[in-house]
């Protein structure tokens, strides 16, 4: 249930049913030799994988929505069929080629996108691999489209509805033990030929052509001292906004089998479809420094400490002449926790506090899982407590306590039932309950000669 603000405080119910249908055909190519049971990896292989999602919200959240809210809400939670992915994949064909054809997506952290098209990678003996890919970006307004990976910032504008071709290329180090590195380029654009029937903001027909995204990305990761020291680096340069909008550096150091340290520096600037004016307003980067130390003091225990520091900056705007109260704002906090793992019982507890931009939060949690009957039944119990205070609006402060109980049951081979219920206590609700249940079937059948 979600409470709508206003004098009547209407409660909007959410009752979502989501079905995922994943179908795969694996090991399409037969073994090369008649005496082999299955084709060896080095001989190459083909497979087809797909995932279809059917979803609908039966509650009043979508049913009673009106106006723009109805349009948007129904796109997210209304009855809809999404093809998340569905492609033919070839691996190690001819000992050097990997490829995919169909609906696919890239989720490397530096870049999120889904497209209908093809991707190919060729590995050379010189420890270099070359990639090329191209197709059409997936848009939520397309049939079987889904919004999760579409470009953000211009929802439902005519520039959002135009068909967007996309191409890219990359080269990477391949099969080098101590280092991975990749350099990639990607461009998505909307040609004028696809926008002849679409209206400009002034009402005239025919959108001019424009570039929607253009990035170059570089990543590198080293494995030193037999993998115990791993520095890595990633950066994305946005050619459309002429700046580095995503940079991260990391060092992971495993001092001993029991002691590990990880340090991360992340610098990001929000970026959108180049059709969006939001790119103009996003000026300052958000910087984030994280250090985590973890140790195993005993056979059953793992303990960690965490520091997180955040830097926000403000600039003086030329026309308004507004000076920021604090040109640089620091925020940060820390966390500590422990896990305890026995043969049939595991628990973890955390305490955390965070301040700075957004406000202050302090809280903790306890999570447990008990294997009551091995490979059949496990019980979960969780407790989440948080107190918060907003830094903009004084009235936004409070606490919440959530108790969760759940079970994980294997009903039969490949048939699982997971349920979890949560009772929430806050100063805003006298009671609030939510439940999540999932029934999954995971079956495979064998066809063909063997």
């Amino acid at each position: 249930m979600v409470r709508a603000p206003g004098p009547d405080g209407t409660l909007l119910s959410r009752r979502r049913l989501v079905q995922y249908v994943g179908v795969g055909v694996y090991r399409i190519l037969p073994p090369k030799q008649v005496d082999e049971w299955e084709r060896r990896e080095e001989d190459g292989q083909l497979q087809i994988v797909s995932s279809l999602r059917i979803r609908h919200d039966f509650g009043t959240f979508t049913r009673n929505a009106t106006g723009d809210a109805a349009r948007l809400v129904n796109r997210i939670d209304g009855r809809q069929i999404d093809l998340l992915y569905g492609y033919l994949e070839g691996r190690n064909l001819g000992g050097a080629v990997d490829l995919r054809a169909g609906r696919q997506f890239e989720m490397s952290g530096l870049d999120f996108y889904a497209f209908d098209g093809g991707w190919i990678r060729v590995r050379t003996p010189a420890h270099l691999a070359f990639e090329a890919f191209g197709g059409f970006a997936v848009d939520a307004s397309d049939i079987f489209g889904f919004p999760t990976f579409e470009q953000d910032g211009t929802d439902d504008a005519s520039t959002d509805r135009i068909t967007t071709p996309m191409v890219g290329a990359a080269f990477a180090m391949a099969d080098v033990n101590f280092m991975d590195a990749r350099f990639a380029y990607r461009r998505a654009w909307s040609p004028a030929a696809f926008g002849e029937d679409l209206a400009n903001p002034d009402g005239s027909l025919g959108l001019p052509g424009a570039v929607d995204q253009e990035f170059v990305t570089a990543t590198a990761a080293l494995r030193l001292a037999k993998g115990r020291v791993s520095p890595s680096f990633a950066a994305r340069y946005n050619l459309g906004t002429a700046r580095l909008d995503d940079t991260s550096a990391m060092l992971s150091w495993t001092m001993t089998e029991l002691h590990t340290v990880r340090a991360q520096y992340i610098r990001t600037i929000p970026s959108f479809d180049l059709d969006s004016i939001f790119n103009v307003f996003a000026i300052e980067p958000i910087e984030d420094v994280r250090v985590v130390y973890e140790v195993r003091p005993g056979p059953y225990w793992t303990v960690y400490g965490r520091f997180q520091g955040r830097i926000f900056r403000s600039d003086t705007t030329a026309a308004l002449g507004t000076d920021p109260e604090h040109p640089t704002r620091f925020g940060g906090g820390g966390a500590g926790g422990a896990s305890y793992r026995r043969r049939r019982f595991a628990a973890r507890a955390d305490l955390f506090g965070m301040g700075g931009e957004g406000g202050q939060r302090i809280g903790g949690n306890v999570d447990t899982r008990t294997h009551v009957v091995y490979d059949r039944l496990a019980l979960d119990g969780r407790l989440y407590v948080v107190g918060y205070r907003d830094d903009l609006v004084a009235a936004r402060r409070g606490y919440s306590v959530a108790l969760q109980a759940g079970g994980n049951l294997r009903l039969a081979h490949g048939v699982y039932l997971n349920v979890v219920g949560e009772q929430l206590f806050t100063q805003f609700y006298s009671t609030a309950f939510r439940a999540l249940a999932m029934l999954s079937f995971d079956w495979a059948v064998r066809g063909g000669r063997r």
């Binding site: 979600v2 709508a4 603000p5 206003g6 990896e41 292989q45 497979q47 995932s51 106006g67 809210a69 948007l72 809400v73 992915y85 691996r91 952290g109 579409e150 929802d155 520039t159 009402g203 424009a210 929607d212 791993s230 890595s232 906004t241 700046r243 992971s252 001993t256 089998e257 029991l258 991360q264 929000p270 939001f278 958000i286 056979p299 955040r310 900056r313 403000s314 600039d315 030329a318 308004l320 793992r341 026995r342 043969r343 049939r344 019982f345 965070m354 931009e357 009551v372 009957v373 119990g381 407790l383 948080v386 918060y388 907003d390 903009l392 409070g398 108790l403 109980a405 699982y416 929430l424």
Partner: protein
């Protein structure tokens, strides 16, 4: 039912799921033989070697750390993904046998020529009979001495449990290693060992002392079974009830799945996606980012109330799962937080979302400007471009505004201006009228 009773009921349910379960979970596994009830300690060792457990202590098979993934992950069985749990209901002391001068191959004769990890290399009862007298089978005139070695015997002659030693999920060729000069003790430290268990099997760290890419291959798939797609099999037969292969320890190459991995994995995947891809396919990512798995640690408790703070602080990248202009704005519009005319917070609405001095005509304090500079993602979750155009567009534009420039000093002559205008002039025309001299980066 009153609210107080409901709360009490929930407390009882939660206590059953945790504290009640704790009692069940701490009981030793039924049928586990040997020293499983003993308590053990772990002592740190030099870099490059795995943890060494004290003599005779139980294997460290553990349940999975909970709550990283809320549901969808079924219960898991004992053991690690590499060495499944064993039952060895025997009484035996390696230490004593070695002290007698026995060599390894006296009992493990097949080891030197074994080519598969599935080969059963422990001695049979007949092999023991060579020294301990004929018992397998026992001649009629020999007394029964079952309990000399077997620990689970009823009525003096009925074994109630036998050795269960599932094959390790590894590719391993003993013959290849011995041919290259490896000695048994290079991998199996049997000094001060009684029974011998998975603890005497080599750890990944000790394997990598030779498999460093120079002396021997460091390719993961050389030892770990991989699927037809080349990725390492995280679970045997992809069975969710079995333990998962999770990189931990000194050889995790920066991808150790520690207690903060969920919070920090984004930067790891950015810089070393290839490492992630050695075990996970793309579908694995989408399972959490847009799929059936609901990570409880990310959206714990009353996240609906607290999420605004997270978004403003950019604690996590909301856009990795949600588009602000569709997902966020849809919900905000639905519950009345948007700036639409029919919303409670819209223009002329009864409620005020932003603090005073947030926005106003030119000359007034403009608190919103710096919030937008820092993290416009939060603005975009409620506002569309039209909200900005009402002030920032020039007066002659398609949607006229108040001609208030949001550009910082020196923008007109900057490379950024050239890049924005050169790539997408449609965006410039949202604020500027055609023919506006400010359309040119001069």
């Amino acid at each position: 039912m009153s609210a107080a009773k409901r709360r009490l009921l929930w407390l009882v349910l939660w206590a059953c799921a945790t504290l009640g379960g704790l009692g069940l979970g701490l009981q030793p596994q039924i049928g586990t033989a040997g020293p499983a009830k003993a308590r053990g300690g772990l002592r740190p060792t030099a870099v490059g070697r795995g943890p060494v457990f004290r003599q005779g202590k139980p294997p460290r098979e553990r349940a999975e750390i909970p709550a990283t993934i809320g549901v969808a992950n079924g219960p898991t069985m004992l053991g690690s993904a590499v060495y499944p749990a064993q039952d060895i209901p025997l009484r035996f002391t390696h230490d004593r046998h070695l002290a007698l001068g026995l060599s390894c191959d006296r009992c493990h004769g097949g080891a030197a020529t074994s080519k598969r990890s599935a080969d059963l290399l422990i001695p049979t009862g007949e092999a023991c009979d060579e020294c301990h007298g004929q018992q397998h089978p026992r001649p009629d005139d020999e007394p029964m001495r079952c309990t000399l070695c077997h620990t689970q015997v009823e009525d003096g002659d009925r074994l109630t449990a036998s050795v269960r030693m599932p094959r390790p999920l590894l590719h391993f060729n003993h013959e290849l290693h011995t041919r290259r000069g490896s000695d048994c003790k290079d991998c199996h430290d049997m000094s001060h060992v009684r029974l011998g268990s998975v603890l005497q099997l080599p750890s990944e760290a000790s394997c990598l002392s030779c498999h460093d890419g120079f002396q021997a291959t460091a390719r993961c798939g050389a030892c770990h079974p991989a699927g037809s797609d080349g990725r390492l099999l995280m679970r045997a037969q992809d069975d969710r009830t079995l333990p998962a292969l999770i990189p931990r320890g000194a050889s995790a190459w920066g991808a150790a799945h520690d207690l903060n991995f969920v919070e920090d994995h984004a930067a790891i995947s950015k810089s070393n996606g290839k490492l992630c891809n050695s075990c996970h396919d793309d579908a694995f990512c989408i399972d959490c980012h847009d799929g059936p798995i609901r990570p409880m640690r990310i959206h714990a408790g009353d996240y609906l109330t607290i999420h605004a703070q997270d978004a403003r602080a950019a604690i996590s990248d909301c856009q990795s799962c949600h588009r602000t202009q569709s997902f966020c704005q849809a919900c905000h519009d639905r519950v009345g937080f948007g700036d639409r005319q029919d919303g409670e917070f819209g223009v002329g609405g009864a409620l005020q979302f932003h603090p005073p001095d947030w926005a106003g005509p030119p000359g007034m304090p403009q608190g919103h400007a710096h919030a937008a500079q820092r993290n416009i993602g939060t603005c975009v979750s409620c506002h569309s471009e039209d909200s900005c155009l009402s002030c920032h567009a020039t007066t002659g534009a398609a949607r006229p505004g108040l001609d208030v420039s949001p550009h910082g000093p020196g923008f007109a002559r900057s490379a950024r201006c050239d890049a924005l205008a050169g790539h997408n002039r449609r965006m410039c025309l949202r604020c500027h009228a055609p023919g506006d001299p400010q359309l040119e980066c001069l």
